[in-house]
C-alpha cells in the first residue's frame, strides 16, 4: 500500500472487495429453526432474554427458503433423515449447516443400541460447524455461530472457482 499510505484522512478505508463481502455476508445469518429434541430447548433459550441471539444478527426463520443457516438441533432418526435432506435442498445457496449437540454429530448417547437413530447428520447433509455437548450450553452454541461467521468471512465469493 505504499502509494496510498498517509494520502487520505481517517474516514476513508481501503480494503479488498472480498473482505467487505465477507463482513456483510457473515454478520447477519438467519437461522432455520430446526429443533428436533432437547437441544432445541437450549436453542430457544439462547434466542431468549438472557443469551440473546439477535444481538449478533441471527433471526429465527421458520421456512427454509428464507434461511441461510440450518441448525440441526437434536437427534436425527431414520424416519426424519429423508425430510432433513429435503429441507436442506429447499434452502437457497449459499447455505451452511451447524450440527448442534452430540446426537447430531455422531448419534450421541444412542449410538450403541439405537436401531432407528442416524449416527450423525453428516451422513445426509454436509456440515460446516460441529458444536459438541449434551446439550451444549447457549454460550457454546454462540461460539459455534461465531466460528461459522469466521468461516464465512474467509470465503472468496468473487474468485472464479477452477474445476
Amino acid at each position: 500500500m505504499g502509494v496510498l499510505e498517509n494520502r487520505f484522512k481517517d474516514n476513508v478505508i481501503v480494503a479488498s472487495l472480498d473482505k467487505f463481502l465477507g463482513w456483510a455476508r457473515s454478520t447477519s445469518p438467519w437461522y432455520f429453526q430446526f429443533g428436533l429434541a432437547c437441544c432445541a430447548i437450549e436453542m430457544m433459550a439462547s434466542a431468549a432474554s438472557r443469551h440473546d441471539l439477535e444481538r449478533i444478527g441471527m433471526m429465527p426463520r421458520s421456512s427454509p427458503r428464507q434461511a441461510d443457516v440450518m441448525i440441526v438441533a437434536g437427534t436425527v432418526t431414520m424416519k426424519m433423515a429423508l425430510r432433513v435432506k429435503k429441507l436442506y435442498e429447499q434452502m437457497a445457496d449459499p447455505k451452511y449447516v451447524i450440527s448442534m449437540g452430540s446426537c447430531a454429530t455422531s448419534g450421541g448417547p444412542y449410538w450403541q443400541h439405537g436401531y432407528h437413530v442416524l449416527k450423525g447428520v453428516d451422513l445426509v447433509v454436509p456440515v460446516d460447524v460441529y458444536v459438541p455437548g449434551c446439550p451444549p450450553r447457549p454460550e457454546a452454541l454462540i461460539e459455534g455461530l461465531l466460528k461459522l461467521q469466521e468461516k464465512i468471512q474467509t470465503e472468496r465469493p468473487l474468485t472464479r472457482k477452477t474445476a
Binding site: A37, C38, A45, S49, S62, T77, M80, H116, P135
Partner: protein, 372 residues
Amino acid sequence: MGIVQGDQMTLNIGPQHPSTHGVLRLEVKTDGEIVSEIRPHIGYLHRCFEKHSENVTYEQVIPFTDRCDYLAAMNSNFGYVVAMEDLMEIKVPERVDYIRVIMGELNRIASHLLALGVYGLDVGAFTPFLYMLRDRERILDMFEYTCGARLLYNYMWVGGVSHDLPKDFVKICTDFLDYFEPQISEYNELLTYNKIFIERTADVGVLPADVAVSFGVTGPNLRGSGVKWDVRKDEPYSIYDQFDFDIPTGTGEFGTVGDCFDRYWVRMLEVKESVKILRQALKDIPSGDVHQAIPKKIRPPKGSIYRRTESPRGDLGYYIVSDGTPVASRVKMRSPAFTALSVLDEISRGWMISDVIAILGSLDIVLGEIDR
C-alpha cells in the same frame, strides 16, 4: 359457471413446523378452513429408549429417562427411582426425600413456565415468552449450582441423589421464591386477562371429563376438565402426603369447563401451588447423608412393578420387569403426553386450522416423551 363441487383438502402440518412443539406430523383433512379429521403421525423422534434400557444397567438407564421428557428431567428421574425403590424395597433417608421434592417442584415450575410461554408464542404473543424464560433461567441457575447441568441432570439415583445441596441453597431458593411470586401476577396481566388470548382460547377444544378418562388423559389436561385427580394426593409417593397444597381444577372461568383456557389456567395455578410446597419443604428440611442408602450394586429381586408419579404433563408410569440380573428385562415408560396427543383428533373436529394450533398448544406435549 357451473356448480362448484366442494371437496376435502388434505393439509400436511409437517414434521418441521414452528408450532408443533417438536417433530410431529399432522395430516389434517379440511373442508375449507373447518377441520373434519386429524391423523397425527409420530415416531420422528423414536430413539429406542426401551431397547437401550434392556442393554445397560439399571443406574445407566437414568440419563436416558432424562432425555425422554427433557423439559421435566428431574420428574422423569423421580418416577424411575420411585418405581425401582418400590421394587427393591429401599427406604431412603428423609433428607433425600425433601431434596427430591424440592427439585421436582422447581422443575415443575420451570416446565410450566416454558409451556405457558410457548403457548403464548403459538397464539401470537411474543413478550410473555421472553419474561417467562427469563425467570426459568434463574431456576436453571439453581440446578446448575447443585449438580452442574442446566437441562439434563442425571440427579436422582436409586437410593439417593448424586450431589447434596450446597450450603446456601436454601437461602438462594427462598430469595428466588420471594422474587417470583409477584411475577405471577405480572404474567396474568400480560397474557391471562388479555382479551385476544381469551377470545382465542375460551370455549375452544372442549374436552369432556368422561372422554378424557377413556382416552387416558391425566395431569393438568384432566384437571382442566374438572376431574380432581393428582397422583401426589391420590397415590402419594415420597413425602408428598406431609405437605399442604390444593389441587386446582378447571371451572369454566371464561367459557366452558374443559376448554383450552381452563387447561392453561390450571397450569398457572399449579405454579402457585408448587411455590407453596417449596416454601414448606425449604423450612423443614432435615440434615443427613444423602449417599448412605445408595446400594453398591443394583440387583433387584425377580418380579415386576408398575408405579406412577406426577410429572408436569400427567401420570408418568414406569413398568419395570426384573429377572435378577443387573440389567433390566423390560422397562416401559407410560408417557402422559402420548395419551394427551391421542385425544387431539376427538376435540378438534369442527374447529378451524388456527384453533388446532391453539388446542395442540394447550395439551402441552413433548415429542421426546411420546416417541421415547
